[in-house]
Every structure is written in structure tokens, then in C-alpha cells.
């Protein structure tokens, strides 16, 4: 089974880092994983997307997919293309700080979390994508919090190591925002095969 996660936001929010953290955590859990990021030359403000595919067997998905089981959305600017690719029954975690609290996708389960506000509360104002990723893990059971915490130590270059603990706090805070999972990535059946 393959589980796709389409990540979207604007440059500077940490979307690529969140995608890589999720992927490294999944590799540590023995999954097959693929990540393909697409982002413009601009560091901040422009479109930044990543496709993450996690499989419990041989991975067949190409670098970009037509349909996705889930989405992690930090900003509404480029959300429409991601939303339209969600499979029926899909799961989305969005940042309520940029989207507002009411986000609906017909036929999908959507969780809006106050990612930026919670990140700031935990002394990690730039780690809102990590809050959202923590919430995504709790909402989908795609990876465990332990694996994400471990991965957070692997994904930053040496010169950014001082931010590892803040990212871990943000992941943990995001995970604890979710009272009950919306889905179970590895238990529920595959839905809506690509057309």
C-alpha cells in the first residue's frame, strides 16, 4: 500500500523540512519512501510544494502523483491544486492561522490546527510546520511521534543544530493537539485508486 502526502505552503514556512522530516521518520520505520520537492528560486514567499509517498512494500509512485491520500497545508495560496488531488476519504491537516478555522473539503476529513500560535507558545515561532507535522502524525498514524522526534535530529545541517530542540518541542505540541486520530494510515483500506 502507498500513502501519498502532498505538502504545500509558501517559501520560508518549513514545508520542505517538514516533508523531509516525515520521510526520514518513515524510512526509520522500515518503509519505502520517496520525496520530490518543487520550489522556486525564491527562498521566501513563493510556492513550495513537496510530494511524499510512503509504502509498506515496493514503491511504485513516480515523483508527482495525480491523486493523494492526504495533505499537509501551511498556506492557502497554492492549496487548490493540492485539494483537487485528494482522494475521496482523504485526510488533510491545515494551518488554521493562515486558512482560518473553517476548512472543508467535500468527502475528506480535515483538521485545522493553530500551528503558528502553538509554535509561538512553545518558544519556536518559526516551527509552525513542525507543529502541523506533529498533528498530521497524530491524525493519520502514518509515522510515530518517536520516529519524528528522532528524525528531527537528522534533517538539519550542522549549522542549524541549535534549532533541533525547538523543532522537537513543536512536533510534540502538535501531536498533543489532536484528541483522536482521524484515520489510520496502515489499517484502513486503500481508497480511490488513481483514475
Amino acid at each position: 500500500m502507498e500513502r501519498e502526502v502532498l505538502c504545500t505552503g509558501i517559501g520560508g514556512q518549513g514545508v520542505q523540512l517538514a516533508a523531509r522530516t516525515l520521510a526520514v521518520a518513515a524510512v526509520a520505520e522500515g518503509r519505502e519512501v520517496m520525496v520530490f520537492g518543487s520550489y522556486g528560486g525564491m527562498m521566501r514567499g513563493g510556492n513550495t510544494d513537496a510530494t511524499v509517498v510512503v509504502a509498506d512494500g515496493p514503491l511504485r509512485a513516480p515523483p508527482t502523483v495525480a491523486r493523494s491520500w492526504s495533505a499537509l497545508a501551511m498556506h492557502p495560496e497554492y492549496w487548490a491544486r493540492v485539494r483537487d488531488r485528494l482522494r475521496p476519504g482523504g485526510v488533510a491537516v491545515v494551518d488554521a492561522g493562515t486558512f482560518g478555522p473553517e476548512v472543508t473539503v467535500p468527502g475528506c476529513r480535515v483538521l485545522a490546527v493553530e500551528a503558528a500560535a502553538v509554535a509561538a507558545e512553545h518558544g519556536a515561532p518559526r516551527a509552525s510546520a513542525m507543529v502541523a507535522l506533529g498533528a498530521f502524525a497524530a491524525a493519520t498514524a502514518l509515522v510515530t511521534l518517536d520516529s519524528l522526534t528522532e528524525a528531527a535530529g537528522d534533517v538539519l545541517p550542522e549549522y542549524r543544530r541549535q534549532h533541533v530542540e525547538a523543532n522537537r518541542r513543536a512536533l510534540d505540541a502538535g501531536y498533543r493537539l489532536v484528541p483522536a486520530p482521524l484515520a489510520d494510515a496502515w489499517l484502513e483500506p486503500a481508497v480511490g485508486r488513481a483514475r
Partner: protein
Amino acid sequence: MTRRLMEGAEAIARAMVAAGCRFFAGYPMTPFTEVLEHMARLLPEVGGTCMNAESELEAVGMAWGAAATGTRAATGSVGQGLSLMQESLSEICHARLPLVVLNMARGQGDYHQATRGGGHGDYRHVVLAPADVPEAVQLAHRAFWLADVWRNPVLLVGDYYLAHVQEAVDEGVADLPPVPDKPWALDGSTGGSGSARMISPLGLAKRGDPSFVEYGRHLETIGDRLAAMEAGVEPLAESIGTDDAELVVVAYGTPGRYLRYVVEELRGEGLPVGLVRPITLWPFPSAAVAAAAEVARAVAVYELNTGQMHDDVRLAVLGRRPVSFIGGLSFDNSGFGIAPELDVERLSARIRRALDETARTAAPA
């Protein structure tokens, strides 16, 4: 064996170093630059040398020199840079030196350059075209092995997608047979003959040496070696559904990866479509294509150019089935070979149209 999530560019660089590459030279051009940067970091750690040359002409010259000493060496570029290198690449073939050459291509317009080349005389490169990162790692090891076994350049063809996609990679030493010694390598000694050893595209000895052969005879020897290499290098291909497909699609590299997914999805719907994905572009896996065509009613070629591998598929099928071209150019404004047409739904639609066309026009198998 460690398993790590790595970008293709890093995975290829690490595999080359693990395969024993100790010299690398190149001139930056995206997406080749990504590999060059990793080599610049990795090679000094193992006592190797990485040169940022002043152009591709110098890069291939440096790599040629390093290869002549018996060092495992590599160079590369994108197709534009490899255009500059063509003279040297044909001469390196004539001088019978092992070398690995990367083409981190912008699209697939360099198929003819890779499999025919623009240099002079009779020469060939072995050409390997991975579709994903784990396969690229395996083929990087295989490239150095083939180069040493056949004393001939081996081209590894990638693209922007392969350079940038991150996948879980098993990093181990590849299980390949031992390679021959390199008694021809220049090591500064004279071999006791009183005259320096030499390596030259004109032959490996000087006039007056006991082993001297005339230039014409040298070229004939090269022809014999090419025939032996073509017969001796195992052609590799991945085939899906070719035992019952009515339409067989042929695609390589990243488009091959997309079409592998699309063909499996369509087969899941019960459509009679199959795929042959050449992994070696030279020698071309003609037998695999011919066998698939034998069962099918028609063959369709998808590549991101205006029709180049199409030639090799037609040569493999030899008129026994219609071979249509369903590919084409596709690029965004980056110029790096990002192809909007590489989209599961668009490719599915293309295959469905080709299948309809087959049902309408092709004779029953």
C-alpha cells in the same frame, strides 16, 4: 548495510566514490552541478581529487588523463556540455580507456548523442539509464565495472528528477565480479624498455616497438572490440505485462518510471497494455522489445524529444508491428528539463488514445 533517505545527486556521488572513483572533473550546469558539489565534498575525504574545470573541454581532458593512470575516473555534464566533450569521448574510446561519464540531462533530447554520439570514427559507449534512485546507485557501481571490463567509456544518463528526488537507498558494496588488471596504466615507469609507455587514440605503441600495429589495423582491432562489447554487455530491461499486452509502450528513464505506474494502473482496470523499459540504451534491449512486439498488436514509444529512441525500437521490431511515436517535447520555464507532461493523468490519457488507435487500426496478433 545502512539505509538512508538521499537525493539522487548525492546517492549517485556516494555510489561512485564507493565504487572506487577517485577522480572527478566537471563544469557546473544544473542538474549536473548537484552531483559535482557532492563529489567536491566526498572525494577529498577519501584521498581523491575533484576539479571544477574551466569548461567541459578541460574536464574531459583531466578525466582522460586520470583514467590513463588506471585511476577510476569520471566526468559529466548535461547534454550541452557533453556536446563539447564529443571529440575527446571518441578518442578515449579509440585509446581504449575506462571512464564513467554522467549526463544529468535536461529532458531526453540527448538519446542520439548518447547512443550514437557526435565524435569521429567507429566508437560506442555503453549507456545506462536508471529510472529511480536505488537503480541509479546499482548502475553507478555497474558503470565502473563495465568500464574496466571493456576498457571503454560508460555513460550514465539521469535528469533533473533523478537528481532531486529523495528515496531510501541501501548503501552496500555491489556484488560484481572482479575486473582485469591494468598493465596498460601509465605509472611513470618505462617498463624496462627504455622508452616511455604511451596511450593514444592512434594505438598503444610507437613505431619501432615490437607491438606496433599500423593505424588501419588498430582501427580494425577497435571494430572487433566493439562487436565483442556489443555481444558481451548484457542488455537490461524491465518488462511489465508483455505476455498478454495488445499495446506495448517503450519508455526509459524518468518517463519510464511514470509509465511503469500508469501501465500498472491501467492493467488494474483490465486494459491490455504493457511496458518495456530499456535500462541499457546501448546495447539496446532489442530482444526484449522484439519478444513483446511478437505478442502485441502494436508498439508505442514515449520519450521527451521528437523521436529518437523510436529508431532503435523500429530496428528491434523490424516492421513486424506498427511502431508509433506518442512522446514529444515538454518543458517549463526553468530550462532544467522539468516536464509538465510527466503527469499520471495526462500520460494515462495518452496511452488510452494509443490503445483506441490500436484497436481501430492494427491487425489482430
